[in-house]
Symmetry: C2
Subunit: 441 residues, 2 copies
């Protein structure tokens, strides 16, 4: 079904067809269809969706549209939707709302969900606690496979959370059992003989990005989260981990382009917010570039001796910046997916040093010969070549060292990307250029 069809059916007030068509769709797609509707039609269409599907759709909708619905809904309707949702999705819905709205909504959901939601609301947004769900299946070591299957049958509402069950003794997590293990073993076997005692587990206060990386590394469907005493309090599922990975990568990319990261999508962010996210770094970088400018100005007598040197300012600054950007991007990405560590520091520096020698040899030859053939001035060609070599080596070293050091100092390496590195290297390249020029003249 496409948006235009929905609009046509709504225009004809053919609600029955709308209901039939929507019931065939995936909640993610329904949420997308709803996002294209007028505010007036939103509640009308939402009410046509079957209860369970509606709750799932609600958890995929924009915060803005969810607020509109919650304002229109009766208390009974709010309860119907929220009771069907995962506790962590309810928390997502509540997070950005004013506290009086949160309180009034919490009053309307069932006690069990309320307790879960309250608990989840306490976790910092960077922690595992903020993305975990508290719905999971607890088993006991003495249970038989048959009893375990019975419990799953009774409790297992949401598919992604039933495929790994957690074996608990005195509230402590002691093992995991997969649904597959239960399916392929004899009904009388006790759970303790099936459970894996070596499993990946995280703490609710761990950084959610680190946990998302565990999913990437081990390819798991869910990871249990325990409190400081080793008691299981929730699980993180792979779909939430994919969301975290996507968000974190987007954030990294934005930082790498000298912007403050934003939670909202590009089109949803206002012009003013866009400007706000970008301006601070632009001002800092502009001020730094001004310093390079004054360095050039205070050395401008060199252009009286060799006026042609002025032509190579962009070439040196750009090449240095590009070389630094290459190195810093490789290192930042390597650090962020856990491929590189601080202990690789010397290996990285040594590798970049050799790469920079190779690259500078080629670029300096091409640059130097090109200059000589076009301008016919051997002295200028030599100054350009030598400056290129030194600039490239320095650029590659700065580009690889700064991100690793940032990581070591617990700063985000993503800030040590192209724009900042370029500005630093601009300055260095001009210092190198003038010194080489003075030396050779």
């Amino acid at each position: 079904m496409i948006g235009i069809e929905l609009e046509e059916l709504m225009a004809r007030r053919d609600f029955r067809s709308v209901a039939t068509e929507l019931s065939k769709e995936n909640p993610v797609d329904i949420a997308q269809l709803l996002s294209e509707l007028e505010d007036n039609d939103l509640a009308v269409v939402f009410r046509l969706i079957e209860k369970k599907l509606a709750a799932e759709t609600f958890s995929y909708m924009d915060q803005e549209q969810r607020q509109i619905l919650l304002q229109i809904f009766s208390k009974k309707e709010i309860k119907a939707v929220l009771d069907e949702m995962f506790a962590d999705d309810v928390v997502d819905t509540l997070e950005d709302m004013p506290s009086n709205v949160i309180t009034s909504i919490l009053d309307n959901i069932d006690e069990k969900t309320r307790a879960r939601v309250n608990k989840l609301l306490q976790y910092d947004e960077f922690t595992v606690g903020s993305i975990m769900t508290t719905e999971f299946i607890e088993l006991y070591p003495e249970m038989t496979v048959e009893e375990a299957l019975l419990k799953i049958r009774r409790l297992g509402i949401h598919s992604e959370t039933v495929y790994t069950c957690y074996v608990v003794e005195e509230r402590h997590l002691i093992g995991i059992v997969t649904a597959k293990d239960l399916l392929i073993n004899e009904p009388t076997t006790e759970v303790k003989y099936l459970m894996q005692e070596n499993f990946i587990v995280v703490n609710t206060r761990d950084d959610k990005e680190d946990v998302a990386n565990l999913f990437r590394k081990y390819g798991l469907i869910a990871i249990p989260a325990t409190d400081s005493e080793g008691c299981i309090v929730g699980i993180v599922t792979f779909d939430d981990a994919i969301d975290v990975l996507t968000e974190e990568t987007t954030e990294d990319m934005h930082k790498m382009a000298a912007m403050t990261a934003s939670d909202d999508t590009y089109l949803k962010t206002s012009v003013f917010d866009h400007a706000k996210h970008r301006i601070v770094w632009l001002l800092i970088l502009m001020a730094s570039a001004a310093v390079t400018g004054f360095l050039i100005l205070s050395n401008d007598e060199i252009f009286k001796i060799m006026p042609m040197l002025i032509a190579f300012i962009p070439l040196l600054m750009d090449t240095g910046g590009n070389c630094g950007a290459q190195s810093s991007t490789l290192i930042i990405r390597g650090l962020s997916i856990g491929e590189l560590k601080f202990s690789d520091f010397f290996e990285i520096v040594w590798k970049e040093f050799r790469v920079s020698l190779l690259i500078s040899a080629v670029l300096a030859s091409v640059g130097g010969l090109g200059t000589y053939f076009i301008l016919g001035d051997a002295k200028v060609a030599i100054v350009v070549s030598v400056s290129l070599i030194v600039t490239i080596v320095v650029a590659k070293l700065i580009g690889c060292i700064l991100p690793v050091l940032a990581k070591k100092c617990n700063l985000d390496p993503a800030f040590m990307a192209s724009p900042l590195i370029s500005t630093i290297i601009d300055f260095c390249s001009m210092v190198i250029y003038f010194n080489v020029a003075y030396l050779l003249i």
Copy 2:
């Protein structure tokens, strides 16, 4: 267990402890431990691992180490390892090997796996076929829940592939049933009453990146892949999708920093290959920067009239480059995660235009006033301010238009990132600068 412990145990030739310790570990971690061993120890330790765990570990090892093992192993050992692996992991192992090795290995695995591997080897590396596995559970509409569970029990070897079963009629995929549905329903219910007939399905020839994005969008554990006639031939699982997403993002980042993407990790890539991946773009960009240089050289009489203008070359070029980088990064990332489409073109341009006006107002004020107070020259300050405004607007527009156009022309938008955009904007900013200066003098 950490690498040092393993080394110590190996030094003491305490193989029994090695075997015990390794049996407690996750295959991903064992593969990492093995990667730190000397080649001589590798086969010794690998043979200590229990058969099933060994096969899983093998699928997580480096290609290099796998080759070493395959050379040392007897035919029987090769068969033991490969028979336990997923067909798609066997394909990964074979892919980079010389064809005579592939043939000799294929001779050594069982017929069923060989047929599967042969089929998978035919798919292009960019397609769904190259990442799917051919192991999945087929059910028929008339089967009862009990019969279905029996089939899973009989076939379901690998956990991630049993949680969704595929209902087939005359080889055509007509529905999906989750393991959860089977668990919570009566044993006598027929599968056709439980199956979902609306489900996400892809073609084996589809782009694997697009399919990975479906996992991101819908949060699924597995997606079935059919041939052009609608017959199911394999499934893609979420862990392979996470790998694809990670690879594609890394590739995007590398392209955005003007590098050819590499399959290998940073440390595994040789110095020569690193240089090769980076040098082509550096040469192109250096040549473009030279053009900007000659533009400056041919306008150098302006510096005789107003020598101070030379100080603002870096400031204008850097600010323009940074503004362009911000816009292009936002757009490239938005396009790559499907948040932005070509149809948003005018909205994007209009938004960037307004953002650029806001930003240029602030930057031009700060830049202009700063210049005036430091240099005390109102004329220079005006030239700098006006040039900044025009440069920022042009930079933001180029930065947002080029990636969208690239996408429309089926080019990778990632190439339209910072380095290329900066070089283009450098030239534009100097044209603007000189024209403004001539106009105002």
